[in-house]
Amino acid sequence: MRDALRAVFLRDILQAWRRRADWLTTFFFFIIVVSLFPLGVGPEPAILRVIAPGILWVAALLASMLALPRMFASDYTDGTLEQLTLAPQPLSLLVLSKIVAHWLLTGLPLVLMGPLLGLQFGMAPDMLPVLFYSLLLGTPCLSLIGAIGAGLTLGVRGSGVVALLVLPLYIPVLIFGSGAVEAVGVGTAPGGHLSLLGAVLMISLVVSPLASAAAVRVALE
């Protein structure tokens, strides 16, 4: 059982390593979207400082969504997903390994890059660690929730549908994530937001592997 989970995980990581350029797309997309806002809103530091948490979080949502088609799409076309479904292990656990690999490749870079971009927006030093923790708790939620959307949209007509499904479900993560950082900005404790984000993570950890596995099964029928 553990061998199989490890095999799924390592294969995705190894494959991504051999195709590094593909995965850097998400990362640079995040940076570019964040950099667009000062150009659109104007370089006024006071304004930018206020909207920075929201911008960073919205950009993280969009970047994570952009990476979703990679979660299952190639496995779906090359037959790997059939093999995963027919493996003796529960499909939900195998899917969870894929989600973890996906998060390491697309979510973790955003977590590490977030505080650096926060500096660009003149965020106060005490906001940066909170931004880091909120992204650390929040981006796994995005990968987990996104996996459901990625599974449901396998082989469908039209490529934008996944955004319609996933973005509304992302909203609590956005609210608690940016809320934590904003809370520090107005001088209150971010603990409540971060705990709620943790609660969302726990719920997603339970619901998402089951729902994604069900979605994958439906797609293969």
Partner: protein, 206 residues
């Protein structure tokens, strides 16, 4: 043994399959024949449990495969049209992860032996991207050569894209599998010498 009764499949508003019955005992191979679009692949996918039949029941050793679940999947080896290989990984990496996902962690010397038997040993370090269609098929099929392979093989067009020598090698391997009490269900367009007396034929468009 594998048994199916009254299998039906509705595609859109048309019956693709209706009233299909089959029974495969240990040591037997079932050859499913039919034109393109006659439902061969769909039937194989139903036997695996990927597609639930719209009517009828499929049983493994007397138990519906839906209930048998993990126990059934342990005894099953399915190879579909797609080879389930990753272009960027080497032949050996592909095979190793495929085996681990199927719940069988094979030893290194077993890999050496299997790859030698399948004539792939000199290509083991190559990424699958550079292999030809026939070679890719052989990589996917090489899972059949590992010791204690699953009992039931469900193979969709296993002989397609293979050269004469590989076809012979596969039908030999199939023969030995049946000798050992194994079962197989397969589709093929080619006339292949399958073990006489132990081959059933099922025509879908008859």
């Amino acid at each position: 043994m594998l048994e199916a009764r009254d299998i039906a499949c509705l595609k859109g508003s048309r019956w693709l399959l209706r009233g299909v019955a089959l029974r495969v005992e240990p040591g037997e191979v079932l050859w499913i024949e039919g034109r393109n679009g006659s439902g061969k692949t769909t039937l194989l996918r139903m036997l695996c449990g990927l597609t639930p039949p719209d009517e009828g029941v499929i049983q493994w050793v007397g138990q519906p495969i839906v209930d048998a679940g993990e126990a059934y999947r342990r005894e099953l080896l399915y190879l579909g049209h797609a080879n389930a290989l990753k272009d960027d990984l080497t032949l050996e990496e592909n095979l190793r992860s495929a085996m681990q996902i199927a719940g069988r962690t094979a030893r290194s010397d077993e890999f050496d032996e299997v790859l030698a038997q399948c004539g792939l040993i000199d290509r083991r370090e190559l990424p699958v991207r550079v292999l030809s269609q026939g070679q890719r098929r052989r990589v996917a099929l090489s899972r059949l050569w590992f010791p204690d392979a699953p009992k039931l093989w469900i193979l969709d067009e296993p002989f397609a894209a293979l050269d004469v020598e590989s076809v012979q090698r596969l039908s030999d391997r199939l023969g030995r599998h049946l000798d050992g009490g194994g079962m197989a269900v397969l589709t093929t367009h080619q006339e292949v010498a399958l073990p006489a007396g132990r081959t059933q034929r099922l025509r879908l468009d008859a």
